[in-house]
Symmetry: C2
Subunit: 389 residues, 2 copies
């Protein structure tokens, strides 16, 4: 029975401390170590052109497909801090290297929190020196790390997949700035399966497309998105690429579900499926256009089956459609057929926490896609109108 | 001294009644008549591919550049009602024709309100038969019409431009579903200047690009957007095309200002200017990307100078940029230079109702553009989470 989280797979240890980066005094610095025997690794980063200093550093570190440590701080994104930010990121790596005897080129770092504030380096460096004394392979150690990377997350997010003699563990954080291109979060995945960096990279990219990239909470994409996977090979088992890819997909899907459920101010989890258009890409564009429409998202918050807003939103999508033949289903009940309301459509019950929205654009085309989004609530506004103050 | 509104220019009369389309019993049906001697007209409609029945009817009516009447109802958009919606729209035109002796091909109609509910035709037809008895050319008549087209607007919106012996008047409504492609609203413009339909069309399109199309409240574009201009020629004056275009631009700008100020739940009016990129089109895309970013809009609501969200948002725009050389100014104070925070940036005062945001993408390119948007407030969520119930 594998334990959830990054310390589940053999060969991994982790730990966290409260370094004082967060004013609250909560855990805010995590370190994950891959003790081998192998150190294959892969990563996917934000597509935002404004990237944080830790992303620049970690891109270089993982370029050779090898990592042995990941250090993550919350409370500060170390983004948009210019040359000082880059220097601070390198200093974090140096400190981890000093404390662990791991080569700087095998160390990735992540930061999450407010953009544009210099890192409090005294706290960060003291914290790194301290965290190496709090490393272990228990479930609690992994959970501490998952807790230390939280920002406005309300709960730590962990997952596990148990293979036959091997496993995959994961942790993640992310609550706002969630949009395609990784749904804006940090995720660290560990496995004791034997797998080279190329297999890890392919499997991770496929999993991201199907999971994190389908999550669109607020259309905003952060400067710090990072998903890292490290393999220790400590199980001695080499699953097929297909088996491993499936395992990685499952933990990513699980973490994505948890991210959606804990998104800022969320009261509804909304799945939007689109069909009946020219291509999967067009369907995805239509689904995202709807998933980002604030009027639609407010209607979901109000449990209001206002399907007219669905038509108004998809009508602006860059997708093939027959404007007179669009169908909409809320929770599998037809509310609009041939672009016209179905009697009783206003009475569909959307009071539950999960809402399923299905749209057929009516061309008979085979393109399909889905995205997961959330409602737009008072709490979203509350949380995000006073973040930096 | 010209009076504001659509009855300002000579040759126009208007009126409104409470037809019972709105449950509140407020004015909800307006009629504007062009009594000539000329009946040149032009219009711009929504780019949404899902279009309301009145838009289909009015497109046909104005195709020959001639209109003598516009009827507008609020309380129901007559959108997504299928063949019944089209028949109801034609029945509205027939009723106006019957009551006014104007040919059906010279009558445009507009509807605004909830999408997907059949029009209450008994009320609509009785209202049209009644409104012809309440037509006049006073300021009050024009104001009644401007009041009757309101949905969640809190005030009627009217404007006037006084030329030398001629004038342009306007009224508009619009509060949500405001995004490029007309900012989603209904606007009716009248002028007693002599101008043919081609001149009116060119002038109107130019004005829309610079005014309504720069307004982006929530990224949503409605199915009913319509801007109509009618010319009576009653002044006997024929201004140059340049003069007339300027007058039309001025009333459109004035109405756009009023729409922005009265947008749903607005507490801040935000102007976003972008420069330093490859083309005006790229600058516009970057400005819109920022103007639609919910995290940025929440920060504006909180008067929070969180410039990091500006960089995160523009970093996803389809525009040339130097990610290390982006500058941001809030109310003319630099808060970010070379993509790095300026000391004191968090102390910039954004407590006023108007916030000016200027972004330079740092490439040295000459592209510039601006959009006007609003904050994302509790009230926006409140108004839009219970609209159809």
């Amino acid at each position: 029975m594998s334990i959830p989280g990054i310390t589940g797979p053999a060969g991994f240890s982790a730990g966290a401390v409260a370094a004082g980066i967060k004013p609250s005094g909560a855990l805010d610095l995590a370190l994950i170590l891959n003790e081998g025997p192998r150190s294959d690794a892969a990563a996917v980063f934000t597509r935002n052109r404004v990237v944080a200093s830790p992303v620049r550093v970690s891109r270089k570190a993982v370029a050779d497909g090898q990592l042995r440590a990941v250090a993550i701080n919350s409370g500060n994104a170390n983004a948009c801090n210019g040359a000082q930010g880059d220097a601070d990121a390198r200093a974090m790596v140096d400190a981890v290297s000093h404390g662990t005897d791991i080569a700087v080129n095998d160390i990735a770092i992540c930061s999450t929190g407010l953009i544009g504030e210099p890192l409090p380096m005294d706290n960060v460096l003291t914290g790194i020196a301290d965290v190496v004394n709090h490393i272990g392979a228990t479930r609690q150690h992994g959970n501490n790390a998952a807790t230390a990377i939280m920002t406005t997350d309300t709960i730590p997010k962990e997952s596990v997949y148990a293979g036959d003699g091997w496993s995959v563990g994961a942790m993640g954080k992310g609550v706002g700035m969630m949009a395609p291109s990784l749904a804006t979060m940090l995720v660290c995945i560990t496995t004791d399966a034997i797998a080279n960096a190329a297999i890890l990279q392919r499997s991770l990219e496929k999993a991201c497309i199907q999971t994190f990239n389908t999550l669109d909470v607020d259309g905003s994409t952060s400067t710090n998105d990072t998903v890292i996977i490290m393999s220790s090979g400590a199980s001695g088992v080499q699953p097929s690429e297909e088996e491993l890819a499936q395992a990685i997909l499952e933990v990513c899907a699980d973490i994505a579900d948890q991210l959606q459920a804990d998104a800022e101010g969320v009261t509804k989890r909304v799945k939007i499926s689109v069909a009946g258009t020219g291509s999967d890409e067009q369907a995805l564009h239509a689904a995202r256009t709807l998933g980002r429409d604030n009027l639609f998202k407010c209607a979901m918050f109000g449990s209001d089956p206002n399907w007219g807003r669905v038509l108004a939103a998809v009508g602006m999508a860059d997708a093939d459609m027959d404007p007179d033949n669009i169908s909409v289903y809320f929770n599998d009940q037809p509310v609009c057929v041939q672009s016209t309301g179905v009697p009783g459509a206003r009475d569909v019950d959307l009071s539950g926490a999960d809402i399923d929205v299905r749209v057929d654009l009516g061309t008979g085309g085979t393109g399909t896609a889905f995205v997961r989004t959330t409602d737009l609530s008072y709490s979203y506004v509350e949380i995000n109108s006073a973040y930096s103050s």
